[in-house]
């Protein structure tokens, strides 16, 4: 390659790198620095109002033996699995159906999005009414379940309310992903004799991979970091104290910042591994 061409490439790389600087600067200061502090604090006993006291790996040892911590992991796993798998699948199906310009489709999309827009604090009032033993949900289903006040059903209540609320978010992402797949490609496939199912499997799905990756990564992270619905619907009682709620309580109610940080660090490594795995799985091989 000529010197001019090489310099052009280097010059280009520099500009490319420069594009990332604004985000990286913000990250460095407001995300990375606090994150490093969290890792550091996990080795201390820190109650926020006295000086941190060095305890080494004590916090991690405590968590290893803590029944409450293990419970929270179980609760999180349950919540993640039963909320986000249905939510993502449902969102995908909805996106395919709603990816159209037929009249009224915009309104219908709005209907599925509306739950996402309302905050948990406000909508929990309504959901609590629905979940009452004599509330609408029981009436419609013909049951007498004490949804929010028993270990048998509280987790399911949260799942129901959360699927309702989270699906719309993934719907938007899938719609955005689908919109970039050229119509002509899909139409061309159907002309080659491919039925809608085949065209979906061999044309749409592969092209949707990048967005699916985003959705799956987001789903796992949101599932593991969820705690608003738990706070407003059950307060963490009846086996619904998910790990992030445990973190919040440990940090702010029990003033054990060191232990909360240790949980955060463990969660960090777990999520990092899972995310790397997911991104690798979804990597487009046609680069």
């Amino acid at each position: 390659m000529s010197t001019l061409a090489i310099r052009a490439t280097t010059h280009r790389k520099l500009i490319g790198a420069a594009f990332a600087v604004p985000a990286l600067a913000l990250f460095g200061l407001f995300a990375i620095y606090p994150m490093v502090r969290v890792f550091y604090i996990s080795l201390f006993d820190y109650d926020l109002t006295s000086s941190p006291r060095w305890v080494g790996f004590n916090n991690y040892e405590f968590l290893w033996h803590s029944e409450q911590f293990h419970q929270s992991l179980e609760a999180t796993g349950f919540y993640l699995l039963f909320t986000y798998v249905p939510a993502v699948l449902l969102a995908l199906l909805l996106a395919i159906g709603l990816d159209t310009k037929l009249p009224g489709s915009g309104f219908i999309r709005l209907l599925y999005f509306a739950p996402v827009a309302m905050s948990w604090v406000a909508i929990s009032v309504i959901w609590r009414l629905l979940f009452q033993p004599d509330g609408l949900l029981n009436r419609v289903l013909g049951t007498h379940t004490t949804w929010l006040t028993s270990t048998k059903s509280a987790e399911w209540a949260l799942v129901i309310a959360s699927v309702w609320k989270e699906t719309g978010l993934f719907l938007i992402l899938f719609l955005a992903g689908l919109s970039k797949i050229p119509r002509d490609l899909r139409e061309a496939a159907s002309l080659d004799g491919a039925g809608p199912l085949r065209s979906f499997r061999y044309v749409t799905l592969p092209l949707l991979k990048p967005m699916t990756a985003v959705v799956c990564v987001m789903a796992v992270i949101r599932g593991c970091q969820s705690f608003s619905p738990q706070v407003v619907l059950t307060g963490g009682s009846f086996n619904t104290e998910v790990v992030n709620l445990y973190v919040y309580k440990t940090a702010f109610e029990n003033a054990r910042m060191g232990r909360a940080s240790a949980v955060a660090v463990l969660l960090f490594f777990a999520l990092l591994m899972v995310t790397m795995l997911q991104l690798r799985l979804f990597r487009s091989d046609d680069r």
Binding site: L48, T49, P133, T149, S150, G235, F238, F252, N254
Partner: protein
């Protein structure tokens, strides 16, 4: 097509930047040059907030060099915000907090400024004995003055009682009576009785009421060991469970879980009897005059009526140790807590000065004799290190027994283990 979008975008951006600049310039006010700026944080209780605001206006007028910034923070967020601010050495100058937080957390962690001994002597001369214990450290230093002081009583719905063939002038004296009356009320289609199932703190307070009566304790005197699983403790929880699940006086699954309104069920007639505090009378009077008209406040039912007890709790105004204006802060606190009469009439907050019961405003306090009696027989709640964790364990135990059907023995044993773990750290 691009140009208008770009124009609109840059216009929006410009507006935002200008707005930002304006906002940044106008925020915050600082003390300096003889001017004193105090910040004052309290929880949210509308009648109290209204009177606080009035008193602040009056104080600022009488002291023109002082400005007071009054912020109200919901109970659920209070601790979070306080801790985070205090962790940076900032935080309000004056706070109003409950005695469990003060004695259990803020004094042991050295976050409050004690009164000087002269001021303390004056205060002790002014208030009824032991009522200042809620803000006193283990070594006898006083850290706050009370804005409200509550003893525990009971409220019944007179109309419901009459409809059930019961005489409202003969309220239940023992929990057995509560059970009997409750069943008659339910048979007549009226509400029965229920405890509240709200925050961990409230679970613990209610159990504490019963524990005071059975002679049980959550932790040992030295705060080192859990004693909740001992017989007197189990008796208290079993009493709760029996009343609700055996005598079926109320349905814990459909009782309100809205922490902002502890009296929702009583006001809606879902219960005809409930535990009551002085501030509750004020709140019901304001929110639901119909209920207030039908309400009668009576002494708290007892396990053993010959040995009555109850719990005390109070809110105290205290000064942040990191405050740069401590003497001014104390001056402000003295002013607010000197207005006993107005606290009584406007807010129904009883401040335990020595002659409060014979003051003119007290005559207008509804159900005065009952409250006077209640004040004779109470004590402050237990506290220990990491009390929030202890309360959480108690909440879990009560929920497992009353709502999930497990035996009081097993749930309290589990709570005991958890509590011991917390106290050991």
């Amino acid at each position: 097509m691009k140009k208008p979008v770009v124009k609109r975008l840059s216009a929006t951006l410009a507006v935002c930047v200008v707005g930002l600049a304006m906002a940044a310039c106008s925020s915050g006010s600082k003390s300096g040059g003889g001017k004193v700026h105090l910040t004052f944080w309290t929880h949210t209780h509308p009648p109290m907030i209204a009177l606080n605001k009035q008193l602040i206006t009056e104080y600022e007028k009488a002291n023109p060099n002082v400005t007071i910034d009054y912020q109200q923070i919901p109970n659920t967020d209070f601790n979070t915000k306080m801790l985070t601010s205090l962790s940076n050495g900032s935080g309000p100058d004056v706070i109003n907090m409950d005695d469990v937080a003060i004695r259990g957390d803020y004094i042991p962690k050295n976050l409050l400024a004690p009164m000087d001994s002269a001021a303390q002597a004056t205060a002790e001369g002014r208030y009824l004995p032991h009522t200042l214990d809620g803000a006193t450290s283990a070594d006898g230093k006083l850290y706050g003055l009370p804005t409200e002081f509550n003893a525990t009583a009971f409220a019944i719905n007179k109309a419901a009682f009459t409809k059930a063939g019961l005489d409202p002038a003969k309220p239940p004296k023992a929990w057995d009576d509560v059970a009997a009356d409750g069943q008659k009320l339910i048979a007549a289609g009226q509400g029965g009785f229920n405890f509240l199932y709200l925050s961990a703190g409230q679970y613990t307070q209610q159990l504490q009421i019963l524990l005071n009566e059975t002679g049980g304790r959550i932790v040992s005197d030295d705060g080192k060991k859990a004693t909740i699983a001992e017989p007197a403790g189990v008796q208290a929880l079993e009493l709760w469970n029996t009343l609700i699940n055996k005598d079926k006086l109320g349905d814990p699954h459909s009782s309100t879980r809205d922490a902002t309104d502890p009296f929702a069920d009583f006001e809606a007639g879902k219960t005809s009897m409930t535990i009551m505090y002085p501030w509750g009378v004020g709140q019901i009077k304001q929110d639901n005059p119909a209920t207030f008209k039908n309400m009668e406040v009576v002494p708290l039912p007892q396990v053993d009526p010959s040995k009555p007890s109850g719990r005390w709790y109070g809110y105290y105004m205290a000064v942040n140790k990191a405050s740069k204006h401590q003497s001014e802060a104390w001056k402000f606190i003295n002013y607010v807590t000197s207005q006993n009469q107005r606290w009584l009439t406007d807010v129904n907050f009883i401040q335990p000065v020595k002659d409060w019961a014979s003051s003119p405003a007290a005559a207008k306090v509804p159900f005065l004799p009952v409250w006077q009696q209640a004040y004779q027989q109470g004590r402050f709640d237990e506290v220990a290190p990491h009390w929030a964790e202890v309360q959480d364990a108690i909440k879990t135990a009560i929920e497992s027994t009353v709502l999930d059907g497990k035996s009081a023995d097993s749930t309290l044993n589990q709570a005991s283990d958890t509590i011991n773990q917390s106290l050991a750290e």
